[in-house]
């Protein structure tokens, strides 16, 4: 008897450990994301703080424009101005900076260093200290460079690119002469440590001036260092007096804040993205807790009844269960937080492969992280255990005396009624989204409907999923005979338990399928758009969508068989006071892109602005109206609207101007894209090869025909898709744990039955198959419900986002793969419970009470 008790305790420990694992993983993901996010912010804040001086003189309005990506102001500061600034009594020193955007390192294998990740920063080194009075850069090896022929790289980049001191480093420059080489004479790092994955190319001042400013002795910005006892605002105030027009002086604190805010916008996207997946994992884990505790409570009905018979109050019985949940949650959260700390390093490694390096020493457990993780872990567990715990409290004392200890179960009717109402609300929300009801974006309406219905279907799965289980029973019975039929029956024996277990998998698969439908539609939409609007024979673009030197186009024009190279550049401008990205294109563009005029003329050679229909409608602009544009660096221009493009095209912006406007605006001329048209009769394959040969030494540039262009966009969609699948995998793993848990508990509950089956002639193999098939039935139920919901959600989202996702495409082959994966999941989850069951001693099993 004592042995039996011990074994029961051991078994219970095992069950608790399994459900605790669900919390452990959920909390680990959460705390891992929190640790990673904090490390991310700290890394960037450290760099920003460590590189900002007391004050900065810069082109007016610079903060309104994203630096470098969409053109650089050609406005500069002369050494005279720097000298006048330095002479001010409030200024300790003034150092002229040369900031060069758009320079890239080609690594020793001929590939682009850094790829699509963190930026490459090229600048001149000065002695200017940061706000804390420290040097911005620390030399680690070698010496600082002299002239345009010598550079210092940050240590990480030099290593990644495979360059050592004395090597000749190939550089791609953003404007003018395309390629140059410089000798690596030293390695350095930011005073604060890492570069977050950014590449630093450091020249001396004359070198930077030669490379970026055509050798003129001028600067792009000035770093100001305050004299002793002078505040930043006093410094800035004094500096303003001597500044030329179009320039402003800004306190260092403001620069830091602007940079951090700009960074935060980008980082918040990553953080929120990760946090969403962490919460999904926690919610899936909660389902498993509910289920485990429901089963435990059911199995302990007699024990609870005995407690009640001995005088325990309902509340005491309930509290006992909750206390057990609390202890488990405390333990699991502790393990989870520790695991999260390690997981944060995994995330950091993953992001580092995308070019975002987090300083390892910043990946720490902060108090906030620990408190949040414990709170979420414990709260979720307690809430999940509350329902089963209350059920335990409701057990009648007389149940202790009863032979059969079937716990009282409420009918599923109440569940169904409430569930149907919530489903109706979800449907209403989805319809509101489709109908475009005001108050919220359509996708948000659909999102609310999806969230509500997902949870409701999870709760209603015993009812909704019943036909799936009936089908499983029929199929299994046909395929596997008695053991299949028994498996089907077992899965239907307690539909709540099966449903709740399947729900965890259902949530994961609903999300995966939604994403699959969206991604499939996105790819199909891209194909359609590219097919309709990819008018030239080839397009040459930067792989990181950055502008590049006009020399690339010059070289491509020389290729045999090329008739026309049409150039486009993106610009940031203020249009009537609003920031707007506008397009600039040369005179060939409208022909090459086969643009058609809705009104006026869409000739880019006419010196007039050309807008698209949407923009015209939105702003109420007409042909002949005049637009007022302001550019970084302070240049202002007026331009008349010459035409409105018929139908919306993805190859143009809302506002487009002729290419010559770029130089008039005081912006450096570069190209963002080149549209290439071939001579009649030219062999496209041969020309493509020739163009590729031109692009080969410039790994920044990619030449694509229509199919290749669509393919490269599909590739980007896929990359994101696989990352999301990877993050959702954790939710699936937690769901597998749930199935293992439920099966383990069911096997335990059916020990006698298993003994009987074995006695009357079921082989171990048949028994294992029975349990495996039951597991597969659960997994299939989760998969079918999840994929059905995912299909609905994906389709609805495509409908409300049909401006961008023009085509609905359901990736049936992928869904089929998901279904097969679900079967595999079922088989895997059954391994442990099945082996355990088949090892049961027949005699012991049959005589178990």
């Amino acid at each position: 008897m004592f042995k039996l008790i011990l074994r029961n305790v051991g078994a219970r420990k095992m069950r608790l450990a399994m459900s605790a694992l669900a919390i452990v993983l959920g909390v680990a993901f959460l705390s891992g994301v929190l640790v990673f996010s904090a490390g991310l912010s700290k890394t960037f804040d450290g760099i920003i703080q460590g590189t900002t001086p007391d004050g900065v003189v810069r082109v007016e309005g610079a903060e309104s424009f994203t630096a470098g990506e969409t053109g650089v102001s050609a406005a500069t500061v002369t050494p005279d101005t720097v000298a006048r600034l330095a002479a001010l009594p409030e200024v300790d020193r003034a150092d002229g900076n040369v900031d060069g955007f758009g320079m890239y390192v080609v690594d020793s294998d001929g590939d682009l260093l850094g790829g699509t990740g963190a930026p490459t920063l090229a600048f001149n080194r000065t002695e200017a200290p940061n706000m804390d009075g420290n040097n911005i850069l620390t030399l680690l090896d070698g010496r600082w460079g002299k002239g345009a022929g010598e550079i210092v790289l940050d240590e990480g980049s030099a290593e990644k690119a495979g360059y050592s001191l004395g090597d000749s480093v190939k550089l791609l420059t953003p404007a003018g002469q395309l390629e140059r080489t410089a000798t690596l004479v030293g390695t350095a790092e930011f005073n604060g440590g890492g570069t977050a994955g950014a590449t630093l190319i450091i020249f001396d001042t004359p070198g930077a001036q030669e490379v970026f400013l055509g050798g003129r002795d001028v600067f792009t910005t000035v770093a100001l260092t305050a004299a002793d006892g002078v505040s930043q605002s006093e410094l800035v105030k004094a500096a303003k007096a001597v500044l030329p027009a179009g320039f402003e002086a800004v306190p260092g604190d403001q620069v830091v804040k602007e940079s951090e805010d700009a960074m935060a916008q980008f980082l918040d996207v990553i953080k929120t993205f990760l946090l969403v997946f962490a919460l999904i994992a926690v919610i899936v884990g909660a389902f498993i807790i509910v289920n485990t505790f429901s089963i435990l409570v059911a199995q302990r009905t007699r024990e609870s009844a005995l407690l009640r018979a001995l005088g325990a109050s309902r509340r005491q019985v309930t509290s006992a269960i909750l206390a057990e949940a609390f202890v488990m949650a405390l333990f699991a959260s502790t393990v989870g937080i520790g695991l999260g700390w390690a997981l944060a390093r995994g995330l950091a490694a993953m992001f580092s492969s995308f070019g975002l390096d987090i300083e390892g020493s910043f990946l720490n457990l902060t108090t906030a992280t620990v408190v949040t993780s414990y709170t979420v872990g414990i709260l979720v567990t307690l809430v999940a255990a509350l329902l089963p715990a209350r059920r335990a409290g409701r057990v009648a004392p007389v149940a202790a005396m009863r032979e059969d200890t079937v716990p009282a179960k409420g009918s599923l009717r109440r569940r169904s009624v409430i569930g149907s109402i919530v489903i109706a609300v979800s449907v209403a929300a989805a319809i509101a989204g489709l109908a475009g009801v005001d108050g919220m974006p359509a996708a948000a309406w659909v999102g609310i409907g999806a969230f509500l219905s997902l949870l409701t279907v999870a709760v209603l799965s015993p009812v909704i999923g019943f036909p799936v289980l009936v089908a499983c029973r029929a199929v299994f019975g046909r395929l596997f005979g008695a053991s299949g039929r028994l498996a089907g029956e077992n899965a239907m024996r307690d539909p709540r338990r099966t449903g709740a277990t399947a729900s965890a998998l259902m949530i994961g698969l609903a999300l995966v399928s939604t994403i699959a439908v969206m991604a499939g539609s996105m790819k199909a939409s891209v194909d359609t758009v590219v097919d309709e609007q990819f008018a030239p024979d080839f397009i040459a673009q930067s792989v990181i969508f950055a502008p590049f030197s006009t020399q690339v186009g010059d070289r491509m024009e020389q290729v045999d068989g090329v008739a026309t190279v049409s150039r486009q550049q993106m610009l940031d401008a203020k249009v009537d006071g609003h920031n707007e990205t506008i397009g600039a294109a040369d005179a060939n563009f409208d022909d090459v892109s086969k643009l058609e005029a809705g009104e006026g003329s869409v000739d880019f050679g006419a010196g007039k602005a050309i807008i698209n229909e949407d923009k015209a409608e939105e702003e109420g602009w007409k042909v002949g109206d005049t637009l007022k544009l302001a550019f970084p660096g302070g240049k202002k221009l007026s331009i008349q609207i010459g035409g409105i493009i018929r139908e919306n095209s993805v190859v143009v912006f809302g506002i487009n101007v002729p290419l010559e406007v770029v130089e008039q605006a005081g912006i450096q001329r570069q190209d963002n894209a080149l549209s290439i048209v071939l001579d009649d009769g030219a062999d496209p394959a041969a020309v493509h090869r020739a163009l590729d040969r031109v692009a080969k030494p410039i790994p920044l540039i990619e030449v694509n025909d229509k199919e290749g262009f669509a393919e490269s966009i599909r590739g980007q969609v896929n990359q994101l898709l696989y990352m999301i699948y990877g993050l959702l995998a954790l939710a699936i793993i937690i769901a597998i744990i749930g199935i293992v848990n439920t099966l383990g508990l069911s096997v335990l509950e059916r020990t006698r039955e298993i003994g009987l089956l074995r006695a009357i002639g079921m082989t171990r193999r048949q028994l294992r198959r029975t349990i495996t098939l039951e597991s597969v039935a659960i997994a299939v139920l989760g998969a079918v419900l999840g994929m059905a919901l995912g299909l609905i959600y994906g389709t609805l989202l495509q409908r409300v986002l049909k401006e961008d996702l023009t085509v609905l495409s359901i990736p049936f082959s992928q869904l089929l793969v998901f279904g097969l994966i679900a079967v595999v999941v079922g088989v895997l989850a059954a391994v442990m419970p099945a082996v355990r069951a088949s090892r049961l001693n027949v005699l012991n099993a049959i005589s178990t009470e």
Partner: protein
């Protein structure tokens, strides 16, 4: 002690069977050298006080437990050399079981429960035989019901039908009436009796109920792991007498060793 009279060939045979649990001080000899032939076409009862080893003997004979030494031969097959899988197949095809309680799979209907050993073996049922068995136990109108929808007596009759339907060489019944009221118990016993008389079935029943044993052709008495006596076609009174004597002897023994 009278030596067993062989009236027909043995359906199952035990030769010098021992079963020992534990070791050293705590060693318990549940079976201390049992040699026994169970005759085909007979209804045999195994009786004895608690701890006499009657259940252990049945478990060993029924291929549910392995003896510490000795041989078990069922329908000509020696069990000692068989793997778990072979034993399972043997149980499925040549042995029928009726337990005291929890005899049926709750998720299956009566018909499915009856046919379970056959469907596990992947064998097709003999419809005429199935009908005969079902009519004998009087369950025709209950075939679609699940165990939870049937009385204890009905459930036990389903178990009997299941044991019979695969035409086993021998059926082992472990206190089949132990959980039933006297009327249901009598039904089940009458049914077992008929299976022996009409179908020539071999049945071995472990019981401590003298009324149940009085339905049998032969009653074997066990005490302290050994066969001590047996009676042919005894009356209820004869059996009770025998048991009382055995129990008195056992109590006396214990007093002797205790003193």
């Amino acid at each position: 002690m009278t030596s067993p009279v062989v009236t027909s060939p043995a359906a199952a045979r035990a030769v010098d069977l021992t079963k020992v649990y534990g070791s050293g001080e705590s060693e318990v000899r549940a079976l201390a050298g049992v040699t026994l032939d169970l005759n085909a076409g007979e209804f045999t009862a195994i009786m004895g006080p608690s701890g006499s080893g009657k259940s252990t003997l049945m478990h060993c004979l029924a291929a549910l437990d392995t003896p510490s030494s000795g041989q078990v031969i069922v329908d000509g097959t020696e069990l000692g050399s068989l793997s778990d899988k072979d034993l399972t197949v043997l149980r499925r095809s040549r042995i029928g079981f009726i337990f005291q309680s929890f005899n049926l799979i709750p998720t299956l209907s009566a018909r499915e429960n009856i046919l379970l050993p056959l469907s596990l073996a992947g064998a097709a049922p003999d419809q005429a035989w199935f009908d005969a068995v079902v009519d004998t136990v009087g369950l025709r109108d209950r075939l679609g019901h699940r165990p939870s929808e049937m009385s204890g007596g009905q459930q036990q009759r389903v178990a009997c039908a299941r044991a019979l339907v695969s035409k086993p060489s021998i059926i082992f019944a472990d206190e089949p009436t132990g959980n039933l009221d006297s009327v249901s118990g009598a039904d089940v016993l009458a049914f077992l009796r008929r299976s022996v008389d009409e179908f020539g079935q071999t049945i071995v029943m472990v019981t401590h109920d003298a009324v149940a044993a009085s339905h049998c052709d032969r009653v074997i008495f066990l005490a302290d792991g050994a066969v001590v006596d047996e009676l042919a076609r005894p009356s209820r009174e004869e059996i009770l007498e025998h048991i009382t004597a055995l129990q008195a002897a056992a109590v006396g023994n214990r007093r002797d060793t205790g003193a």
